[in-house]
């Protein structure tokens, strides 16, 4: 039995079947405590049953699929090398561009040979210097094009559902993701309570506009516009208050402490009836409006004006965060992330910069809170759960920690797909299934592409270095044998 298990193709079969079983459960109809196996025993196309021919149970279908995948995988693994070799030989063109991109690919796969990659790096760095200025103008051109696209997006997509989704689901999440990116991506601190800042932003709006049982901040209700600076200020203060004692802790402790912090904010919001009105939620929050001399504009229930408001702030935050990334502060964050002791030894105060990252990262969540509160009209504690924090974390991880372009892409991508699935129940999808997929996505990303879809160059190199550092000891293990 044990002998059989050690054979590669048997193991491969078991792994394939295991993955297929999990997929069958994930995608299946929901079960209940009475019938927990409906992920397997449900059937396909019950309605289109052709004399019972299509009434096959799901596990049969998935077993069949699993066997096919196993067959193809086995074929590729056994014969794939020869095929791949002939293909690469056919397509290889000895130019700088392909050499560098191949080098990068090899690195990403973790199969780098040091000699090869350093040669490639040299070649690519020469090419890089030559085309630097051109690259920069191309980049600005692309950013400009994206911005124009974003400005005209509400005209291109005019359905009410998607226009609302652009604000509530995409713009808000982009704001949160770029903020969390400062904490997780730049400073390397895993914050699982990020939703707390969002909640504080939203509740501040309700407070300032007089929608809470608590008397409003300045005695009388204010326009939500005034809530923006106040909320951003307050979340930054909250970031400092949370960060100053806890950021001395090691990474994993910090994660759990921030997790608890997120929970505490929810508990308080739920139970402090005198302040937050508890689980009943706030009173209606007015829409923002501008009365500035001749300029008069009132936001209404329509999502498009909110979209432009959000877009403006997203651009603002993007500019601030990317300037920060390349500033002295950003370099300090990188240094701390890579090696805290070394950073301290050259005069960087880790605690100060970490707290700074917490506060600055919280700012965009504060604004997102204001936006949601004034657009959705009411604030409920049930919208600020741990689930939400992890949802944002997935956006950052998928896009690429520390890479602004990646994070924005990740947020837009996941939220668009989610909304597409929510809009009209495709393929038997239910809203609560989302979190299953997001959890699976986190594991898959960590195993296969830890640096994300659009990796930040620096981050990617760090992962490689950390993994390559152990390469030599790994060799020793292999030589001496750890299996005695």
């Amino acid at each position: 039995m044990n002998d059989l298990l050690k054979r590669a193709y048997v193991r491969r079969l078991l792994i394939t079947l295991g993955i297929v079983a999990v997929i069958a459960l994930m995608t299946g109809p929901p079960g209940s405590n009475q019938a927990p196996t409906s992920g397997f025993t449900g059937s396909y196309a019950e309605h289109a049953s052709f004399f019972g021919l299509f009434r096959t149970q799901r596990w049969v279908v998935f077993l069949f699929l699993g066997l096919i995948v196993w067959g193809i995988a086995s074929f590729i693994i056994v014969y794939g090398k020869t095929v791949r070799h002939s293909i690469t030989r056919f397509f290889t063109v000895p130019s700088a561009a392909t050499a560098s991109s191949r080098g990068v690919d090899d690195l990403a796969l973790g199969k780098m040979s040091f000699a090869g990659s350093s040669r490639n790096a040299l070649v690519s760095s020469i090419a890089h210097t030559r085309s630097l200025s051109r690259q920069r103008s191309v980049r600005y051109g692309m950013l400009g094009a994206l911005l124009v696209f974003a400005i005209f997006l509400p005209r291109l997509e005019s359905s009410a559902f998607w226009q609302a989704a652009m604000v509530e689901q995409i713009a808000v999440y982009v704001l949160l993701a770029i903020g969390l990116n400062v904490v997780v991506g730049y400073a390397g601190l895993l914050d699982l309570g990020y939703v707390a800042f969002y909640a504080i932003g939203a509740y501040t709006t309700a407070w300032v506009t007089g929608a809470l049982p608590l008397p409003p901040l300045f005695g009388h209700a204010l326009n939500p516009f005034f809530a923006i600076p106040i909320a951003i200020f307050l979340v930054m203060v909250a970031g400092i208050l949370l960060g100053a004692p806890t950021l001395r802790l090691r990474g994993d402790y910090l994660a759990i402490v921030t997790l608890g912090f997120g929970e505490i904010v929810t508990i308080f919001a739920n139970n402090l009836y005198g302040i937050t009105n508890g689980s009943l939620g706030s009173q209606p929050i007015p829409h923002p409006s501008i009365h500035l001399g001749p300029i008069k504009y009132v936001w209404t229930l329509k999502p498009v004006p909110y979209y432009y408001l959000a877009l403006g702030f997203i651009v603002l935050f993007l500019i601030i965060f990317s300037l920060l990334e390349h500033s002295r502060v950003g370099r300090a964050w990188t240094a701390i992330r890579e090696d805290e002791v070394a950073a301290e030894s050259v005069g960087i105060n880790p605690l100060k910069y970490k707290v700074m990252a917490f506060a600055i990262g919280a700012a965009s969540a504060g604004f997102a809170g204001v936006l949601t509160a004034s657009q959705s009209n009411r604030v409920y504690p049930s919208s600020f759960t741990l689930t939400f924090s992890i949802n944002i974390l997935v956006l950052v991880i998928l896009g690429g920690m520390g890479s602004i372009a990646g994070v924005v892409l990740g947020a837009v991508l996941i939220q668009t797909v989610t909304e597409f699935l929510n809009n009209g129940q495709h393929w038997g999808y239910q809203a609560s299934d989302l979190y299953i997929y997001l959890g699976a996505l986190l594991i898959v990303m960590m195993i296969f592409r830890p640096a994300g879809l659009i990796p930040s160059k620096r981050r990617k190199r760090e992962i490689q270095v950390s993994e390559a550092d152990h390469e030599s000891s790994h060799m020793d293990e292999a030589l001496l044998g750890d299996d005695v």
Binding site: L25, M26, P30, G31, S32, N33, P36, T37, S38, G39, G110, G188, L190, L192, P245, T246, R248, L249, G251, D252, Y253, A255, I256, V257, L259, G260, E263, I264, I267, F268, N271, L386, T387, I390, L393, V394, I397, S432, D433, Y435, I436, L438, G439, A440, L442, I443, M445, M446, I447, E462, I463, S466, D469, H470, S473, H474, E477, L480, D482, V484
Partner: protein, 321 residues
């Protein structure tokens, strides 16, 4: 004294009146926390990281016990005597097995690929969070997003009184089961060859591998042992509180607090931390509203981490056990 003093004085009589009642419940809770905390501590010992998905191991044990109990009792007559004892043992075994299987899968899928690649620490955390998130939401999908009460395999009458406080059957079951399992675990780690392996890896993995300890196997077994205890605790918890897909979150956070309180990486510390936290939390009911109990235990966590991060008994699985 001031306002706080008055506040304490006002509640002092209640505390005096209900002390032993609360104490008994707290000890039982503490045993559960301790059993879960052991899982954190063992994994921390060998891998130097916190197993974020331990809450889902706990949950899987709870659900396994729930289904076994339903299959054997259903809505029928509550058994008593030897049938009851047999069913409880069966439930513990079912919960422990489910926990161990879940821990094995977790180690294989979420940890081993990263370990083989020597990934940075952040990657482990994220992958474990993903696993936890995946598992409890999948459980929600498969078992329904509701909480269910487990059919009880015993009659929950008061067995005897201690200082006037009634001690119920449920507490006695937890105490006996918890104590037996903990003693077995303690002996296992202290005396057996396997335990020596675990301690060796905890002290210095590289050297241990040179001395002939199979690291992969040891880590696997550590996960299994911790998972079995966590799963059994899940069943014991489910008998009193019921099961649900999010049942793991709060007990696991508290068990983590207990593990840190006792000194993470320290087996006996985990148990002591669990007991202290359980009793303290139970007594806190007098002073704060029930909704804020979680806030109190979280406050303890932050306080311990800031003031004495090594806990009461100190870190290190290798030295203390």
């Amino acid at each position: 004294m001031g306002a706080f003093g008055h506040y304490l004085a006002a509640h002092y009589d209640t505390l005096k009146l209900e002390f032993w009642d609360l104490f008994v419940g707290g000890v039982a809770n503490g045993f559960l926390y301790g059993m879960i905390a052991v899982g954190y501590t063992l994994v921390y010992g060998v891998l130097r990281l916190i197993n974020f998905a331990h809450s889902e191991i706990f949950m899987s044990g709870g659900f396994a016990g729930y289904f076994v109990m339903r299959a054997f009792i259903g809505t029928g007559v509550v058994p008593s005597g030897f049938a009851s004892i047999g069913l409880i043992i069966l439930g513990i075994v079912a919960g422990g097995t489910a926990g161990a299987v879940m821990a094995t899968i977790l180690e294989r899928v979420a940890y081993r690929p990263l370990r083989k690649r020597h990934a940075p620490k952040l990657a482990y955390l994220i992958s474990a969070i993903g696993a936890s998130y995946f598992l409890f939401n999948l459980a929600g999908k498969e078992f329904g997003h509701l909480a269910y009460s487990t059919p009880q395999p015993y009659i929950n009458h008061t067995v005897f009184h201690i200082f006037g406080a009634p001690v119920q059957m449920y507490y006695i079951i937890i105490l006996i089961a918890g104590a037996v399992m903990f003693v077995i675990l303690d002996r296992l780690v202290a005396k057996t060859r396997l335990g020596r392996g675990i301690r060796a890896v905890a002290q210095d993995a590289e050297t241990a591998s040179l001395m002939g300890v199979n690291i992969d196997r040891t880590i696997m077994i550590t996960f299994i042992v911790g998972g079995a205890l966590g799963g059994a605790a899940g069943f014991l918890f489910a008998m009193g509180t019921g099961v649900g897909y999010t049942m793991g979150f709060v007990p696991a956070l508290k068990a983590f607090t207990a593990a840190v309180l006792g000194g993470i990486g320290n087996l006996r510390g985990a148990m002591i931390g669990g007991l202290i936290l359980g009793v303290f939390e139970s007594l806190c009911v007098v002073f704060v509203q029930a909704a804020y109990i979680d806030v109190v235990s979280f406050g303890i966590l932050v306080l311990v981490l800031l003031v004495r991060p090594t806990g009461i008994l100190g870190e290190r699985l290798g030295r203390s056990a």
